[in-house]
């Protein structure tokens, strides 16, 4: 009897001791004393979370050449698939990785929540501006003085992928303006095909179209945000595509599915307005159409212009709480500007670098058989130079994308219009910002 009570008493004591220890270490670490960006003493081990397939190859090059700064790669699903949430949880818990992959449209979210370290005080970072295409540098500095929140990694300049054989057989020239595109859509529809498929879920692709048109969805004057999903250019783009949807001139298959691949493989879809990384998507999803595709610049709103949109792209940022921001910044800069690293990342993950010299890498020099031998990367190199430098992303893009995508799905099946979806997305975004106590107009 007493043996049993002694055991029980011991167990209770142990349990409460453990519980108290947990409580007493409460409060976590101090978060980031992102003080001066000074080199650390001795050997430094960095952790880097990225979902880029095969990035270990590029990192291995750095590890070989820098025995005192070793980088360990960690991975997970893509940003919107859970890794951004993990970053925020980890920053709160004090065990975030030193470096994280953050896409351009997610960076304002991290900036607003102080999730990334300002690298401007780290040696060599502000001077690196000249290595990168100008609009990518704006995306990571938000136009602020003496501030660099991430190093641009890759970009997604857009162009028009089209079935050269079908256009030639139909006697059509490649459309150079959106008006020509709409006219061609009608002709192609009569022949039984669709000029393209309208994606109801790739809201960032739609944002790229608005970007090309010179429109803005968000603005920040330093005091508060302005949410303008219904700005004039955005409305113009929405009305244009709504017109094509109403006249059944574009397909409405859900993208990134087997039916979507089948629609391109069978020749039902004649074009795709997409980014440079889409080249691999088409060649993998529509293998029966090899040799029949070509790439041309995006159609323009005004004849003779050469504006391009951008779809996708990531940066490498130093997360708050990193104990070695100096070394992390050096690594990030090397990873995203060294030709060997960029070539390795292109080979394993098919990404297109954000550096000015990136377009001249040998890996982009050859013509591709799938595209009839065309040197498609030349088109994208030009497009990359013609992306509007002033496009601003909002601080809650994941939520905005979801809200707008819900509306787009409705519009595609006939209830509501794309513009309605944008307006409702705008209202929900403003409400979300207010709920998060972020100053917003309206």
């Amino acid at each position: 009897m007493s043996h049993r009570t002694a055991l029980a008493g011991g167990a209770l004591l142990l349990a409460s001791a453990l519980a108290l220890t947990a409580c007493s270490t409460g409060g976590g670490t101090d978060g980031g004393d992102a003080a001066a960006c000074t080199p650390s003493e001795g050997k430094v081990n960095l952790t880097f979370t990225s979902w880029l397939p095969g990035i270990e190859d590029a990192v291995a090059i750095w590890n070989d050449e820098n025995p005192d700064i070793q980088v360990e790669v960690q991975t997970g699903p893509n940003g919107n698939g859970g890794t951004y949430k993990n970053f925020f949880n980890q920053i709160e818990a004090g065990n975030a990785p030193d470096l994280g992959q953050i896409e351009y449209d997610a960076l304002p979210n991290f900036r607003v929540q102080d999730g990334v370290v300002n690298l401007a005080d780290c040696a060599g970072i502000t001077d690196a501006k000249s290595k990168f295409i100008d609009w990518t540098w704006n995306q990571v500095t938000f136009g602020e003085d003496n501030a660099v929140y991430a190093i641009p990694q890759d970009i997604g300049p857009e162009a028009l992928y089209y079935r050269a054989d079908l256009f030639e057989a139909a006697g059509l020239d490649v459309p150079t303006t959106w008006d020509e595109y709409a006219a061609d859509a009608a002709i192609i529809r009569e022949k039984g095909g669709y000029i393209t498929n309208f994606s109801q879920s790739d809201i960032n692709a739609f944002a790229g179209l608005v970007w090309q048109a010179g429109g803005q969805w968000f603005a920040n004057d330093g005091e508060s945000w302005d949410v303008t999903l219904d700005s004039a250019e955005s409305t113009k783009v929405a009305d244009y595509w709504q017109g094509l949807l109403d006249d059944d001139l574009v397909g409405t298959v859900a993208p990134w599915t087997d039916e979507w691949n089948a629609a391109y493989n069978s020749g039902e879809m004649w074009t795709w307005v997409s980014a440079v990384w889409g080249a691999n998507t088409i060649s993998s999803g529509a293998p029966d159409t090899t040799g029949k595709w070509a790439v041309a610049p995006m159609p323009q709103w005004t004849e003779g212009e050469s504006a391009a949109g951008n779809w996708g792209g990531s940066t490498t940022a130093v997360l708050t709480g990193s104990k070695h921001p100096y070394e992390a910044a050096q690594f990030a800069l090397w990873l995203n500007s060294d030709p060997d690293a960029l070539t390795a990342m292109n080979k394993s993950a098919n990404i297109y670098p954000a550096t000015v010299d990136g377009a001249d890498l040998p890996v982009f020099a050859d013509g591709l058989d799938f595209y009839g031998g065309q040197k498609i990367y030349d088109v994208f190199a030009d497009a990359a130079k013609n992306v509007n430098p002033d496009f601003t992303w909002g601080p809650t893009m994941t939520q905005t994308y979801t809200d707008v995508a819900d509306g787009f799905s409705g519009a595609v099946s006939g209830s509501g219009t794309l513009l309605d979806a944008l307006k409702s997305g705008q209202d929900k975004t403003i409400a979300a910002l207010k709920a998060a106590a972020i100053p917003v107009k309206g």
Binding site: G28, N265, W277
Partner: protein, 289 residues
């Protein structure tokens, strides 16, 4: 005379209701099995045939090449993931069964102050979904620096409030107090009584708890997602999900996801088919008493 009439009447009625029941079960079976059939057929196809052939029938049979490609992709990480899942779910469910059975047995067979309160609190735990616990567990493990380790997913999986409930019910109904008394009289300690007498009597319930917990750990997605960052530690469900998010960069990976999904359901099928004998006994035996 009357008995023949009633049996004939009974036979006719049960034929109709039997047929109706069979029809409903056939429809349900069809509904559940068609996706698995699709998965099997899709795994046998080469990527180029994926969109051009009938989705519910075979094209060229390439299953073994597809499996070989999957096995060599990234140095066979897929089989590492399968091993991880089997460890997390198998070993985790084994230990969870042991702990829940011990707890249920103790609550059923020993009278102590606070017994009902303890049981009610544990029962309240059944209401809390695993996803709600994942983030607090992450913060807790962060404080001791144990995130991104095998234990960060394994330890939380050892807890099964539902198992405690099942074990208690089963222990009170199928382990007679007299047997425990007899064991005490014979000089056996409590622990020895538990392992030699009670577990034998409670075997069907333990298998049921094992299967429940196995499936629950196997399907627990949010905990590994939030805890793990090292590819070597992923369970197969999370690994396939991560691959699926990379499809826009490496379209070929879609084929691996599909073949991987087919292979990943095999352990569950084996577990259920192998243990179903006990499962049926476990669910029914309590009712007989």
């Amino acid at each position: 005379m009357s008995s023949t009439v009633s049996t004939r009447g009974a036979a006719r009625e049960s034929l109709l209701s039997r047929s109706a029941a069979m029809l409903v079960m056939l429809i349900c079976a069809f509904y559940f099995l068609v996706p698995i059939w699709w998965l099997f057929v899709a795994s046998t196809k080469d990527r180029s045939q994926f969109t051009t052939t009938n989705p519910l029938w075979f094209g060229d049979f390439n299953l073994f090449e597809n499996i070989a490609n999957l096995a060599t992709y990234r140095d066979g990480i897929f089989f590492r993931w399968m091993l991880n899942s089997i460890l997390y779910a198998g070993a985790g469910a084994l230990l969870a069964t042991l702990f829940s059975t011990m707890a249920g047995y103790a609550i059923a067979k020993y009278a102590f102050r606070g017994r009902e309160a303890a049981f009610n609190i544990i029962l309240g735990g059944v209401l809390v979904p695993a996803t709600a616990l994942a983030l607090p567990l992450f913060l807790l493990f962060s404080q001791i620096g144990a995130t991104n380790t095998f234990w960060s997913v394994f330890l939380p999986s050892l807890v099964s409030p539902f198992g405690v409930y099942l074990a208690r019910i089963y222990a009170s109904s199928s382990v007679p107090d007299e047997i425990i008394e007899a064991a005490r009289i014979d000089g056996a300690g409590e622990v020895r009584t538990f392992f030699t007498v009670a577990t034998r009597l409670m075997a069907p319930a333990m298998v049921t708890i094992f299967l429940f917990q196995f499936v629950s750990i196997w399907n627990n997605f949010f905990l590994p997602l939030i805890m793990l960052r090292d590819e070597e530690l992923f369970p197969v469900t999370m690994g396939l999900y991560v691959w699926n998010t990379q499809v826009s960069q490496i379209p070929e990976i879609r084929a691996y996801v599909i073949v991987g999904a087919l292979l990943s359901i095999i352990p569950l099928i084996i577990a259920f088919l192998g243990l179903q004998r006990f499962w049926r006994n476990g669910l029914g035996a309590g009712g007989l008493k």
